[in-house]
Amino acid sequence: MLRFFCQLTLIGLIPLLSCCHQNSLPYSKKNRLRINFYAEPGTLNPKGTTFSYLNNIYPMLFEGLMRFDQDGKLCTAMADRYTCSDDGKIYTFHIRNAKWSNGEPVTAYDFEYSWKQMLDPHSPATVASNLFSIKHAEEVLAGSIPPSHLGVYAPDAETLVVELNYPSSYFLEELTLPHFFPINRHHPDCFSQLECIGNGPFTLKKWTPQQEMELLKNPRYWDKKNVHLDEIHISFLTDINTELRLFEKGQLDWAGGPLSTGIPTHATSRLNKAGILQTRKSHQTYYYSFNLTHPLLRISQIRKALSLSIPRREITTHITAGNEEPAYHFLPKELSFLSDKEVWLSDEELVQLFNDGLEIVEPNSRQTPIVISYNNLEHHRAIAQTIQQRWKELFDADVRLRPREWKAHISEVAAGNFDVARFSWLGKNSDPYSYMELFLDPHHSMHGTSWQSLHFRKALLHSKEAESPEEALSSLALAEDLLDREDIIAPILYQNVVFVKNPQLQGFHIARFGIVDFKSAKFSTQVEER
C-alpha cells in the first residue's frame, strides 16, 4: 500500500521537476542594459513626474534644454546656446535642430506648451511648484492671471525666452530635471503603452504592464553618435533582496539606488568588503527633527545634549555601511557655510548639559517619554534602536520607538503627533535656500518642529532680494547659523547613492538629485579600476 503511494507521489513529481528548463534570458547580449525599477512609472508623460526615483525613466526618453554629461559637467542639450541678461533674470535659449521620435522637429513652442501644461490651473502637475521660479508661475496656477502672461514665450520656433522671478544661478541645472522636459504639442496625449513620442536618446519599443519595458536606441536623436547602448530592459520588482539575487546571478546589470530603494542592509558590508559596492555622494541629509511642543524637547540644552550624543560614526560604519559621512549640519557639506568640525563633548559634559536643561522643566513632566517615530524600513529601525539605547544609557530617559507606514508617518508629523521623527531631505537644486526653505513653514511635513524665528525668516527671504551675490550669500550664511544654533533638528548623516553594477558598465552619470543618466553608458571590455 505504502509503496503504491510513494510511487504515485514520485510519478507526480517527475513532470514538476523536469519541466521546461528554458528559464533565464540569453545572458547579457552585447550593448543591452538590464535594470530594475522598484515600481512601475505611472505614466511616461513628463507632466506626471513625482518626487520619487521613478523619474529615472524620463532622461532616457526625453531631453530638456540642458543635460549633465558623463563627467557631471552641465552641457547644452536641446538648447544649442543660450544667453542670460545682465540682471540674471531673463534667459534666451536657441533651440537645436532636433527631431521628435516621430520625425517632427522639436521647437520652442513645444517647450512653451509643456511648461504651461504643468501649471494648468484645472489639473496641475504634482510637481508644479518646482516651476515657481518662472515669473508669474504661481499666479497662473492659481488662475488669477491667464497662462499667456507666464514668463515663458517663444518668439519663433527656435527661440525660447524665460523670465524668472529673481536671478538664479541654479536655474540652468534645474533644466536637466524632468519637470522641464518638453512634450510634442501636436500629440500631447501620446504616452500609451504602445507609443511614446520623445526626444531623448532612447525610444519605447514595448511596455508590458507590471512586467517590463523595452527601450531601443533612438535613431532620430540629435547626438546619437554618443549613444552606445542598443537596448535597455527595465523590469519592475519591488523586493530588493530578489533584485540583488538577480544581479548576483548575472540577470541584471544594476541593483540598488537610485533605481530601487537600495541594497538590503544585511548585504552592504559584505558587498563593500568584496569591493563591488559603489557609492556616490548625493546632497541628501538624514536627520531627526524635534517637536518643540514636547515638555522636554522645548528646552534647547536638552535638544543639544540629545543631538550631540548621537553615535554618528557608529551608525555610518556599522549600520548604513555605504561610506556615508556623519552630518553635523543640516546643509550638505558642499553647501554649508559652517565648518564641518565635529563638536565633541565627553559623556559627563553631555549628562551635565542634559541635567541643566532638566532643571528648567517642571518637576512633574521630567519623566515624559520621548518617542522616536520613523517609517518602517530595516535601516531606519536599526538607527533608531542605536539612538534609543544611547539616550537611555546616557540620560536615563524613557525613550520609545514608534514605526509607521510612510504616508502615515509624514501626515502624523505634519499634524504634530510626534516627539522625535526621522526624515531625509534633498533640495531641488544646489541652492542652500532650497534646503532651508523647509523651515519657513513651522509645520512642514518634513520636520513639523513648530519652530518659528523672525530673524531666520528675514535672513532667508532677504537672500532672494539681495542686490549682489555676496549679499545673498551672507544672508544665507546668517540664516544657516540661526538654524544651526537652535538644534531644532539633529543631523545624522549624509546619504549616499549605494548600488552594485556590472563591472563592464561605464559612462553613466548620477546627478546629485538622484537621477542616473545612461545616455552615453557603454559596456567596456576593460573592467574599470575601482
Binding site: M1, P124, L237, M446
Partner: protein, 307 residues
C-alpha cells in the same frame, strides 16, 4: 433548494454593501492621502488636485458618488496609473494570480490528502514522528522564509528554475510551491485527524468484515467522509490563494493582484483600493458559496433540511 439559494443571494448582496461602506470609511480614516508626498505639494496644487478628484466634497457626498458609479459598473481609474482603469488592472492581474493560485490549490489538495493518508497509515511505524515533524515544520515556516529558501536551492544552488519574474510555466513552479506549502500541511493534518476517527467507526469494521481490499475501504468508504473539513477549509483559503499572496508575489516579482492590492493601499490609490477589496470579497463570498454547495453534495443530511 431554491429557498436556500435565494436566502444566500440576499446575504451576498447585504455583505457586499456592508463591505463597500466599511472599506470606504476605513480608507477615509487612513492617515495621509494620495497626494501625501515627501516634498509637500504647494497648497494651490493640492486644492486643485483635490477638486479634480472630487476629494474636496464631504465624505457622504463622495460615498454616494462612488455607490452610484459602482452600481453602474464603473470602478473608476487608478490615481497613480491614470491611463489604466481599475477594471483593466484587475482583469490583467487576476489571471496571473489565479494561475498560480489554481496550481497551488491543486498541489495543496492532492498533496495534502495524500500526505494525510500517509500520516494515518504510518501512525504506528517508526517514520511517524519524522512525518509529523515535517508537517509541523511546514505549517510553522512562513512563506517569506520558505520563498527565499526555495529560491536559494532551486534557482541559485542547483540553477534548475528561474529565480523570479514572470513568463513561462517554469516561472510559476517556485511561487506555486511556496504558496501551496502551508495549506498542504494543514490539509494533511485535517485528513490525518478525521481519518483516524472515521477508520474507527462501525461501518469500516463492517467493510473489513466483508473482506473488501484495504485500498477500496480507504478510497471508496473512508475518504469521502474525511473530505468535509477539507472542502470547508479550501473554500476559505482558495479566495486568499486565488487573489494572490502579496508576500509571494513580491518576492518572486509576479505582476499579480496581490501586488496591486498592497501597492494601492501604500499609495492611497482610493479607486484601486475599493476595486481590489470589492473584487477580493466577491471572490471570497462566491467560493464560500461554492463550498457550501459542495457540503450539500457531500452530506445528504444537510440537503434534506432544505427540501
Amino acid at each position: 433548494m431554491v429557498r436556500y439559494l435565494i436566502e444566500r443571494f440576499i446575504y451576498l448582496f447585504i455583505s457586499i454593501l456592508l463591505i463597500i461602506t466599511l472599506t470606504f470609511l476605513m480608507i477615509k480614516a487612513l492617515p495621509g492621502d494620495p497626494f501625501t508626498e515627501e516634498k509637500a505639494l504647494a497648497p494651490e496644487v493640492l486644492t486643485k488636485l483635490k477638486e479634480h478628484y472630487n476629494l474636496s466634497l464631504s465624505v457622504g457626498e463622495q460615498y454616494l458618488i462612488y455607490l452610484r458609479s459602482v452600481f453602474s459598473g464603473d470602478f473608476g481609474t487608478s490615481m497613480v496609473y491614470p491611463s489604466r482603469s481599475v477594471c483593466d488592472i484587475i482583469l490583467d492581474s487576476f489571471p496571473i494570480s489565479a494561475i498560480i493560485g489554481l496550481q497551488a490549490i491543486f498541489v495543496s489538495a492532492t498533496g495534502g490528502i495524500l500526505l494525510g493518508i500517509l500520516l494515518q497509515l504510518n501512525n504506528q511505524s517508526r517514520f511517524s514522528p519524522i512525518l509529523t515533524l515535517t508537517v509541523l515544520a511546514i505549517i510553522s515556516i512562513p512563506s517569506f522564509i520558505a520563498a527565499p529558501l526555495l529560491q536559494y536551492f532551486f534557482a541559485i544552488r542547483w540553477d534548475v528554475l528561474p529565480l523570479a519574474k514572470w513568463g513561462s510555466f517554469s516561472h510559476t513552479i517556485l511561487p506555486t510551491l511556496s504558496l501551496a506549502a502551508f495549506p498542504m500541511a494543514v490539509i494533511a493534518r485535517l485528513v490525518d485527524v478525521k481519518l483516524s476517527e472515521v477508520l474507527k467507526s462501525d461501518y469500516i469494521t463492517l467493510a473489513e468484515a466483508k473482506g473488501l481490499s484495504k485500498f477500496r475501504i480507504l478510497f471508496r468508504h473512508a475518504l469521502p467522509n474525511t473530505l468535509a473539513p477539507v472542502v470547508g477549509y479550501l473554500g476559505q483559503t482558495s479566495a486568499a490563494i486565488l487573489t494572490g499572496s502579496f508576500v509571494v508575489e513580491r518576492i518572486f516579482g509576479i505582476p499579480g493582484l496581490g501586488t496591486w492590492y498592497v501597492a494601492s493601499i501604500l499609495n492611497r490609490d482610493y479607486p484601486l483600493i475599493m476595486g481590489t477589496t470589492l473584487f477580493y470579497s466577491l471572490v471570497l463570498i462566491t467560493l464560500i458559496f461554492i463550498s457550501d454547495l459542495l457540503y450539500l453534495a457531500l452530506d445528504p443530511r444537510l440537503r434534506r433540511r432544505y427540501e
